[in-house]
């Protein structure tokens, strides 16, 4: 059995891709509902726990999938070792920040 990080990454990329198929359909229908709403209605829509939990799950899975994809792009095109490691680290930091900001924004609607 092919062990190692590359194998695990491959599996996670396919797993997140599969999960994103129904999640994206949900997301598109949700945005069709939510985008035309005004400020108070949009907040009300998103503070419905079904919507905000699904949105949170969607964010985590989507951003993980995007992170893996962008990692592969850096691995393929950045060859200078110092620059490559720096880019990968920067990518990780940016991804974590975006996830934290997104989840914090979702949770703040409950306070």
């Amino acid at each position: 059995m092919a062990a190692g990080k590359a194998h695990r990454t491959w599996i996670i990329q396919r797993l997140t891709a599969l999960l994103l198929i129904p999640l994206l359909i949900w997301f598109l229908f949700s945005m069709l509902q939510a985008l035309p709403l005004g400020y108070m209605e949009a907040r009300a829509w998103l503070s419905n726990p079904v919507n905000s939990v699904l949105f949170g799950v969607f964010i985590v899975i989507l951003y993980h999938h995007a992170w893996i994809g962008m990692r592969e792009v850096i691995e393929d095109y950045v060859h200078q070792p110092g620059l490559k490691q720096f880019s990968l680290l920067l990518l990780l930091i940016i991804t974590i920040l975006l996830v934290l900001i997104s989840l914090h924004s979702l949770f703040s609607l409950y306070v």
């Binding site: 891709a17 198929i21 069709l32 400020y39 995007a66 962008m70 997104s102 924004s105």
Partner: protein, 124 residues
């Protein structure tokens, strides 16, 4: 110590583009565009949490002509990446790897992504 710079055979300059290779790089390009668009998604959530004036600002951008164009192109990008992603998942399962199959599935992905995008925007 510097490695000696050896000459490389021409590849991109000489190899004729084909549906397979073009759709492959397009999958990567759409993936990159979608990853960048996540900043916009995060900002939209942040704006909703931050307050009415922040939210109104981003909403009026999204409702403007430029914003609508951006969202239209992003949705087309998304549908292409999604449909071609399914084509990739089928390949991972060993399905559709024959050359003629990958050609007609490729045409379906391109056509479907454009048609679904137009349908979505026309019907919304």
């Amino acid at each position: 110590m510097d490695k000696p710079q050896r000459p490389l055979s021409p590849h991109l300059q000489v190899y004729k583009p084909q549906l397979t290779s073009v759709l492959s790089i397009l999958h990567r390009a759409t993936g990159i565009v979608l990853s960048v668009s996540l900043v916009l998604l995060t900002y939209w959530l942040f704006a909703l949490a931050d307050g009415e004036s922040t939210y109104t600002a981003i909403q009026s951008f999204l409702n403007s002509r430029l914003g609508t164009l951006v969202l239209f192109m992003l949705s087309w990008t998304l549908f292409y990446h999604l449909f071609n992603g399914v084509r990739h998942l089928l390949w991972d399962a060993g399905i559709g790897l024959e050359l003629n199959t990958s050609y007609w599935t490729g045409y379906i992905v391109v056509a479907a992504s454009l048609i679904i995008t137009i349908l979505l925007w026309w019907l919304k």
